[in-house]
Symmetry: C2
Subunit: 335 residues, 2 copies
């Protein structure tokens, strides 16, 4: 948001964020988990980090929020009813449960989550945790209407991310986490806060024309999907697989997903062992061959190097306005 | 390839193709299945159709080709060892088996296929068949080195397609089938045959510079992935999930996937019922809301309307050179 940043120890950033989340109404377990996920995103420079605390009212418990429960449990699947708990809590539970099912013996398991009141943040976090346990993780999530299916169309999709976590033998997992929109919602919010222009052709105003003015996008405009008709198709697939398949709010069956407050998540875990031998070595071989094929950056390389540097230093830069807000919220709660 | 086309009845196109495939060495069952899949692709205007018969030597049985067998069979997974059978035969078997496993009671199943000697063609065909049985189908396939991970890099990926088939209550399934490359290999071959220029920025020559000359691309150049780093990331995910997870040839572990002749496929089937009620109605609601959000073409709409027209007429246009080659091969075999 502001350009001025402060250096804060990672432990302090996490503790202050947890304190702020408790002050706005979450219990200690839920506050710690959310603070851990947002701080982890911040550590790797992801735009789903502590910026979420800049407007803490968006992070407060919804009316009637309680703990997530598991429904429709089978050997290879389950559904987490978030009961308006935070997206991060429900998504963590879904990812853990999918891994458990695979560890219990099925080759592949699917666990969805719905009825959560906030965003699950950086999907790469969940699939990364899954891959650290030797399991291939795939996660899809839908979200409220911000993204249009074509230029000039009404927004219908969320930024509808998809993330993949792949364990490999020669180091940490490959984590690939992408939105199917051409720019993240937080990119638009940040551009507005900083008074910066958006790139050309990534978003439209309320009349359906391209604009580089973030404020106009937020006033009834729309973000575009990435990559032409392929990106639009992928966004629709995420809407179908994470929205309809999860039990979340369904376009056309609710007035809006935003007012229904039920984003959907679908998480798939795959144990490589039953399918092939030496999967992690194969994944490492593919990644190193691709890396050495030219001037190639593998998914997650940028964020891994940022994270390595910040973790070694034990501290990270936080925009001062956000850090002030986290500390103030920890003391005073919502204003 | 040539612009001149002939009108052929669909039944005759399929029968002549099957006859040509038998003449080059496939048995009746394998020939019928491949002819059916290629004719179905041609009927919906897909570029993985009868053009495959233009150079029939690429479709002939590999040395030692035999029937695919199922390995590593579990309740939720299996692996089809293609035994150098055609990709279409192994992929059909894998898709059928994934559906069977889901119908037998698991919510999700994964079946991969490897060791096939030819391309599986249009992946949308398999997921469409799965969705017609009420099952969500996802298919990924890798293929030989034609596509680079960045501009100027050596080709490492295939066109690495991903396809989704989603059943819905108000009509045929939504089928979304995309390559992760910015142009299909058959697009380059067709441009060369017709002497047409490629679009800007989709492919490079052997020096790593962009070219619109298809011949230069085929002489040591590379196709680019679509959609910037997101498309490159998706192509890598397909390489990992369809290449490494399937038992297919792995980059860096073989001299080349092309010479190893073992493309990989990974097929996932999901039964919606255990996860949510009314999935097909939800999918229909999402699709119709997206469709009416503006000037939007849903995935598969174009090919469905072409298919409807050609099916009603009972015939389809085939480039004369391809049709001549199919008929000649049926009489004389490979030259």
């Amino acid at each position: 948001m502001a350009d001025e940043t402060v250096e804060v120890s990672i432990a302090e950033a996490k503790a202050a964020t947890a304190k702020a989340l408790m002050k706005i109404g979450w219990d200690e377990a839920d506050a710690e988990l959310q603070a851990g996920i947002m701080t982890a995103a911040e550590v790797c420079g992801n735009n789903q980090g502590l910026v979420k605390m800049y407007n803490p009212v968006l992070m407060k418990p919804a009316e009637g929020a309680s703990k997530p429960v598991v429904e429709r449990d089978t050997g290879s699947s389950a559904v987490v009813n978030g009961n308006q708990s935070p997206g991060m809590v429900a998504a963590s539970m879904a990812a853990d449960l999918a891994v458990e099912k695979v560890k219990a013996g099925v080759t592949i398991a699917i666990v969805s989550a719905y009825n959560t009141c906030t965003s699950s943040g950086q999907l790469g976090y969940y699939v990364g945790k899954m891959a650290e346990k030797g399991v291939v993780g795939i996660a899809l999530a839908n979200s409220p209407e911000f993204v249009a299916a074509s230029k000039g169309a009404k927004p219908v999709f969320g930024t509808n991310p998809m993330a993949f976590g792949i364990p490999k033998s020669d180091g940490p997992p490959v984590i690939f986490d992408m939105s199917t929109s051409s720019i993240a919602l937080f990119g638009v919010l940040t551009a507005k806060a900083k008074g910066e222009a958006l790139p050309d052709g990534v978003a439209t105003d309320s009349t359906g024309e391209y604009t580089t003015d973030a404020a106009k996008v937020l006033e009834g405009g729309a973000i575009q999907t990435f990559g032409g008709h392929k990106g639009a198709g992928l966004s629709l697939m995420v809407e179908l697989l994470a929205g309809a398949l999860s039990g979340g709010a369904v376009l056309g069956q609710v007035d809006s997903k935003k007012s229904a407050k039920s984003w959907g998540h679908t998480i798939i875990a795959i144990a490589p062992g039953p399918l092939t031998d030496g999967f992690e070595e194969k994944a490492a071989s593919i990644c190193s061959t691709v890396k050495s094929s030219g001037d190639v950056r593998l998914p997650g390389e940028g964020s891994s190097s940022i994270a390595a540097e910040r973790t070694a230093a034990g501290k990270l830069p936080i925009p001062k306005k956000i850090w002030d807000m986290i500390q103030k919220t920890g003391e005073e709660g919502l204003q």
